[in-house]
Symmetry: C2
Subunit: 405 residues, 2 copies
């Protein structure tokens, strides 16, 4: 396994957050690096990449409910890196990323939602994360637009937000300034090194082949649409999300002052406000393959739950309806680092946490590209792990790759 | 008052359905005619003109509920003209207009809605229009996707539909083939003829002035934004409508087989299916001035009622969210024909009925431009009528113009 780059350097397949943070970090380490990405950054509304659709919540504490503790620890690590990461990136790129350290308020709509929220708060306390239990009245004191029916909440003072579109542009700019090259083409195939002298490389849709010492496959849920050597087809699946971008009319007060997440009769809904008046409201979670159609049902669900929680949302202008595909893995945890093909690494499977995991993904992939191994804290997320966690003490012996191929 | 065109002919201000049907008819009569319209027809989604947003229902029988009997008679006349009008127009333009003679099913969601529907049916019978009362089961036999809760309905076999975007393009093409000219500019001012030798004309945003023997102001709800001589500022107001264009997935059966209109807890909602799988679902009716923002509340209302009536609508892809401004008049009836300024006529105020009234508007305006008078059947809608109907036997003596200026 190559532990350092030779003449051809690193080819990163995919220009989303995982790919671009990897490219920026690789370029910063002096590795020659090229990003292969067919969609330009100029039209975020047109792109389907999860990175350009995502709301940008950095909310490990209030996500804990839906995740597992090891993933949460990984997410907490990334959240803890975020402020310094933003400072470094904004300086390197010369542009802002819309980071807002406002905290997050998670609220419950009905009695059942409140029971779930109480369980979450207990988990948060066990994990030692900052989270303050509030009554419904205390929630409304913080966020006066909340519905009178809100039963109670949890304030997570360290759960912040960022604008993923700005973050993506900043990473592209910082990568470019650090020397990363960019190829506007679709990757069709990863070519495997072989005993017959065949070299690792990436064949593009325009017919060219980019030779590579190392390849990072970071194409989100499309990572398995690219022809790769048999044993390492990434076990990703698309998880569709529909959400709305809205705008508070000029001169009006903000709809909410911080990220507000809610459970409404068991359905999660969120509001992520930005400094410029944009409010991102989402999102559905649908297992429908690669379908990216905006549906009446998706819009309906988001609007229904948003309106229950913050009735004043009906006054907002809708500026964009977005559909994205999150890259899910079999256990919904990231797929990071080396595969069985020497030099071919994965950086995908971030599912609902891609924005939050951006700094730690950069850290992990930098070590992968230079040392050929994952840091200890990320070993659980090894791309070649067994399903259910072969190195986590259970008895499964098939690998994820075998299970999915 | 000029009864025929001299050297400068007719200038029509506004390229919506009212303006273009007038221009086509005028050109067909041999009058020199020029349409002034700033928005191109090439981007119907971008335009805000009511004509490009409207669903295209030709439903006088099922509209009767919300209107008055004289307007309904006028609408019935236009509906009766429609089939021949379409034949003539499609031949003249060499393109289709998406006319579908499918009939309309009007249904009631709850007991109160059913009571209103029963009243409507009584009115329909008094007026002698074709309308058959159906049970909920009979409605579902015609339209199997209707919700089980639908209480009953009325089938109006003569209430059809057309595609207003195709209709508008066909009228533009037919007008052009008949010799109508087109100026892509905004009309800023109608210049009044005067004793000092001043001539009737239209001053454009590009600085030019088009002299005219007759001017037809047909700029929808913007007709009062154009500087016109004091006594004839058209008393129009914008009535905002938000609606959704959806699409049945390829290979799926139609959502509905005919226009379906419903009352859902007092709110009107409609589905207008087209042969190509498009379904137009709408619409809000909001008095908010010239605001054309798409709002979360507008989408919410349309989706809420649509889903109650036809739950399967949630499976449809949303292809477009549209906002339009209907031109309302003080009594919500059209404003047609001569004003107090010699040679200046109105063709606006069609409110919710602009598509349906297209053929009769063409007929009426042709007589106005050639004879200087309204046909008897249209006298009620005279542009210079008194509010509440000065010639309809009541005692008001102020004119609409006086009331609104």
């Amino acid at each position: 396994m190559p532990t350092n780059s030779g003449e051809h350097g690193v080819v990163v397949v995919g220009g989303g957050l995982a790919g671009r943070v990897t490219a920026w970090r690789a370029a910063g380490l002096g590795l020659p690096v090229t990003v292969v990405e067919p969609d330009p950054l100029t039209d975020p509304g047109g792109a389907r990449a999860a990175s350009t659709v995502a709301a940008g919540m950095l909310t490990p504490a209030t996500e804990a409910m839906f995740g597992e503790e090891p993933l949460m620890e990984f997410a907490m690590r990334s959240a803890g890196m975020f402020a310094d990461f933003v400072t470094e990136l904004e300086r390197a790129a010369g542009r802002p990323v819309g980071y807002r350290a406002t905290g997050t308020l998670l609220v419950a709509y009905d009695r059942d939602d409140l029971a779930l929220l109480t369980d979450l708060h207990a988990l948060q306390q066990r994990l030692g994360v900052a989270a303050e239990r509030l009554t419904g009245r205390e929630c409304r004191r913080l966020e006066p637009m909340l519905a009178p029916s809100v039963r109670g909440g949890v304030l997570a003072p360290d759960d912040h937000s960022v604008d993923p579109r700005l973050l993506l542009r900043a990473l592209a700019e910082a990568g470019s300034r650090a020397g990363a090259a960019e190829v506007a083409a679709r990757a069709e195939e990863v070519l495997r090194p072989g005993p017959d002298g065949a070299r690792l490389g990436v064949r593009l849709s325009d017919g060219r082949t980019l030779p590579a010492d190392q390849v990072v496959l970071a194409a989100g849920c499309w990572s398995d649409r690219i022809a790769v050597p048999e044993p390492v087809v990434p076990p990703v699946r698309p998880v569709k999300g529909q959400l709305l971008r809205m705008r508070v009319p000029d001169g009006e007060p903000p709809l909410v002052h911080r990220t507000v997440r809610g459970l409404v009769r068991g359905f999660p809904v969120y509001f992520v406000p930005r400094a410029d008046g944009e409010v991102v409201v989402g999102a559905t979670q649908e297992e429908l393959g690669y379908d990216t159609s905006l549906t009446a049902g998706g819009l309906w669900q988001v609007l229904r739950d948003a309106r229950e929680l913050v009735p004043g949302v009906t006054e907002l202008e809708v500026t964009e309806a977005c559909v994205g595909l999150r890259p899910g893995s079999p256990d919904n945890e990231p797929l990071l680092g080396p595969t069985r093909v020497p030099g071919l690494h994965l950086a995908t499977g971030h599912f609902r946490h891609g924005v939050l995991l951006t700094p730690v993904t950069g850290e992990v992939m930098a070590q992968v590209l230079t040392a050929g191994t994952l840091p200890d804290h990320a070993r659980r997320f090894a791309a070649d792990r067994a399903p259910g966690g072969g190195d986590r003490g259970d008895s499964h012996s098939t690998t994820l790759e075998e299970q999915w191929n």
